[in-house]
């Protein structure tokens, strides 16, 4: 399978007066699993739709293996964007049976693996004779996951695949994703709001905030830069002086600050100070970066 990068340069998109993406640059390297996280309205779905030419950009360029994606069947055949069902009862897909929906997908995606699709449906306990509009939210998610995986597209984008799935089905999804990735080395971009349980699945994480890429880095490297320093207020203040403080929580004389710095810088700052230092997880890092001062109760 040929491996190519998917690249966006200077991407702009507005809906009416609302600027959703602002001069955005992004490169998706081949053979990795990316996590795409961002708050509601950050522009995740718009970005994924633009990357796969399901939506026209107002400005900028998107290329796959150096070739423009827009109206280019060769480039588009490399891509799969399995998006959430709109839920509109009158949409084209709504009246179809699951198996007919798979049949349409099999025509659309040239690498479609039919046997794999049925195997996946079975593992999710998805009844292929049911009509799409009779499925629960979780089962709809399963359909989009089956289409994404069975498309065998070299670059596959999933928009909130685990929304509506119970925890057992979510675990199954991560397992299936990693199984397929181990076998094929395909590129995946997965957007999600359920950050912490998926963090270990992502080799790299992309944080989208208010229409631009705030961070794009190997997950563990990013997380390792953030620390929570806590203790008595004066000690914490002394330790954190000169460090970049992202958020602060206070309770009486107790204070906790989230800082971003390297390990050496941290060790220097807390030397001789009576404070505790705790690592953050990806979810906490995300809140520190994208919370914008909201919801910071201790």
């Amino acid at each position: 399978m040929e491996q190519m990068a998917l690249k966006a340069v200077g991407l702009n998109k507005s809906f009416g007066t609302k600027e959703v993406l602002k001069n955005l640059d992004l490169t998706i390297e081949p053979g990795r699993i990316y996590g795409l996280i961002g708050r509601n309205g950050a522009g995740k779905t718009t970005l994924l739709a633009l990357l796969t030419a399901q939506l026209a950009a107002d400005g900028g360029q998107i290329t796959c293996g150096g070739e423009p994606v827009w109206e280019n069947p060769a480039a588009l055949s490399q891509l799969c964007f399995s998006r959430e069902f709109s839920g509109a009862p009158n949409s084209v897909a709504a009246g179809l049976k699951v198996k007919d929906y798979f049949r349409i997908a099999s025509i659309y995606y040239k690498n479609w693996d039919d046997a794999y699709a049925h195997r996946l449906a079975q593992r999710f306990g998805l009844e292929e004779n049911k009509r799409i509009n009779k499925l629960s939210k979780g089962m709809l998610s399963m359909v989009t996951i089956v289409v994404a995986l069975a498309s065998r597209a070299p670059i596959t984008l999933l928009d909130e695949p685990v929304a509506g799935l119970d925890v057992v089905a979510r675990e199954l999804f991560y397992k299936l994703l990693l199984e397929d990735y181990a076998e094929t080395g395909r590129t995946f971009v997965v957007s999600t709001h359920i950050i912490e349980e998926a963090a270990a699945v992502f080799e790299e994480v992309i944080i989208l905030d208010e229409g631009h890429i705030l961070e794009k880095a190997p997950t563990e490297e990013l997380v390792a830069q953030f620390h929570l320093i806590s203790g008595r207020e004066d000690e914490v203040d002394a330790a954190a002086a000169g460090l970049t403080v992202l958020s602060t929580e206070r309770m009486g004389r107790h204070k906790a600050v989230t800082v971003r710095c390297g390990e050496n810088e941290l060790a220097q700052a807390v030397r001789g100070r009576d404070v505790d230092v705790t690592a953050l997880n990806l979810q906490k890092v995300f809140v520190a970066l994208c919370g914008h001062g909201e919801v910071q109760d201790g």
């Binding site: 990693l178 270990a200 699945v201 080799e203 563990e220 700052a269 230092v277």
Partner: protein, 124 residues
């Protein structure tokens, strides 16, 4: 008290530690093959690159070695190597923390050593 780094360690370090534990317990014996990167990734729902990082750490330390095209194996002398490494960290990680906690609870040296003796004789 100095600022202490909490051991909410990275996943690749946890993978390395878990493999070490398994070697110490004889789950993987010297000369035997350990799970592949992909097997670990599936088992723990982690990215294969993370699993590989954990395995490579142990390769660098000489605990595991690679047979090209076959997989990863436990090196001869791996148990002794892991024990040696863990002993070096034992004092810092456990003993000093134990002494500090005992002091803050007002336990005397006699009481503490008595407790240690009892725990040691009860340990398997």
């Amino acid at each position: 008290m100095n600022g202490t780094l909490n051991d909410q360690s990275s996943i690749y370090l946890q993978i390395a530690k878990m493999l070490e534990d398994s070697i110490l317990r004889g789950i993987y014996q010297e000369g035997e093959q350990v799970p592949s990167t992909n097997e670990l990734a599936r088992q723990y729902s982690i990215n294969p690159a993370t699993a590989a990082k954990g395995i490579n750490l142990l390769v660098d330390e000489g605990v595991l070695y690679k047979k090209r095209g076959i997989g990863m194996f436990v090196a001869e002398g791996a148990v002794a190597l892991v024990q040696q490494k863990r002993r070096a960290a034992f004092y810092q990680q456990y003993v000093t923390a134990l002494a500090k906690e005992a002091k803050s609870l007002g336990l005397g040296e006699e009481e503490l050593t008595g407790m240690i003796r009892r725990a040691y004789s009860e340990a398997q």
